[in-house]
């Protein structure tokens, strides 16, 4: 382990003396101190050593030490809409499974029903599934020289149009994972002293869902 946090004591700080974090996404960009003395030097960036330090946490799908080709080709990102048998890949949501139930119209009238052939109903279900699906939009982002690997693949929710019928709901972050990176951390009381690489967990959005904000 590259860093032992000796200053940190292990009591829980949920006594109102420290602010409370949330797991809310998307994350806001970290504000970095512009002083270059906080940057790692050429000799601190030796690939082999850092690669060994990160070990099994190195995840090629979500991180890159150089600017990825995908970022060169699609600078603004790519929509990750996985299709299978004409509908979004993944588990069928319950509201799709139960689509077509009777609509109650009061005590004195018959409920309204949807009379369709099984095939046609399936078609409508697949369409509604696709219409209300919230694919993740992927973009590569450069975190700067104080992170290694400095490029990570972030997720965003596509908010161009409403995803619901009637319109009103939008695609919102619904799930995330944490990738582990290295961070150049200077603990010294003086600027840029006592620096080392430490492991940090960075949240990455992995799923979006159609909901009210």
């Amino acid at each position: 382990h590259p860093f032992e946090p000796e200053e940190r004591n292990s009591i829980s700080f949920h006594d109102g003396t420290r602010p409370f974090p949330s797991n809310q996404l998307p994350i806001i960009d970290l504000e970095e101190n512009p002083n270059p003395l906080y940057d790692p030097k050429e000799e601190d960036l030796e690939y082999k050593r850092l690669r060994r330090l990160l070990g099994r946490d190195f995840d090629r799908d979500y991180m890159s030490t150089v600017r990825p080709l995908e970022h060169v080709l699609h600078r603004n990102g790519t929509l990750d809409f996985k299709i299978k048998k004409g509908r979004p890949k993944g588990r069928r949501p319950l509201f799709i499974k139960y689509f077509g139930q009777r609509v109650y119209t009061g005590e004195t009238q018959k409920p309204i029903r949807l009379k369709l052939k099984r095939e046609d109903r399936k078609k409508v279900q697949k369409y509604l599934w696709s219409y209300t699906h919230c694919p993740v939009f992927h973009t590569w982002k450069d975190l700067g020289v104080r992170f290694w690997p400095r490029w990570i693949r972030e997720g965003q929710c596509f908010r161009g149009k409403s995803c619901s019928i009637p319109p009103g709901m939008y695609c919102q972050p619904s799930d995330s994972m944490r990738i582990t990176l290295l961070r150049w951390y200077c603990r010294g009381p003086e600027v840029g002293t006592n620096c080392s690489w430490i492991k940090v967990q960075y949240p990455v959005l992995t799923e979006c869902a159609c909901s009210c904000s």
Partner: protein, 125 residues
């Protein structure tokens, strides 16, 4: 960037309502985490523009200070019967979040969003 307003000049003038001579407003405050002893658990950023709210909430509370209906009522109650309730206070109306890279309770370094860290606007509450 906001202009720094010198808090010192007027703090002796503050009354029980917690305000200064000016009406309730947002004021500059840059917080260095080192000054709070938080460099032990916060890695980045070094600090941030937190701002704070200060100023008078006295009669009449105009539209410009973003007063709630309750604050309007409380101002009048205070004016007619000061012993029943104090003036309403100048407090944040909107707050925004800040990302922080820090050591969590388990000793892991994580990046998380801290909600309601920055005052975006003030009002009489």
């Amino acid at each position: 960037q906001e202009k720094y307003t010198d808090y010192n000049l007027s703090r002796h003038k503050r009354g029980a309502s917690g305000g200064g001579r000016w009406p309730c407003q947002r004021r500059s405050l840059y917080v260095k985490f080192r000054d709070l002893g938080w460099q032990s658990w916060i890695i980045a950023p070094d600090g941030y523009h937190a701002f704070f709210c200060e100023g008078e909430c006295s009669f009449p509370i105009g539209n410009h200070v973003n007063a709630t209906n309750h604050a309007i009522v409380q101002t009048l109650v205070h004016m007619y019967t000061p012993f029943k309730a104090p003036s309403p206070g100048c407090a944040p109306s909107k707050l925004s979040a800040q990302s922080v890279l820090y050591f969590d309770d388990d000793g892991n370094v994580v990046l998380k969003k801290f909600p309601k860290m920055i005052v975006t606007s003030c009002g009489c509450h």
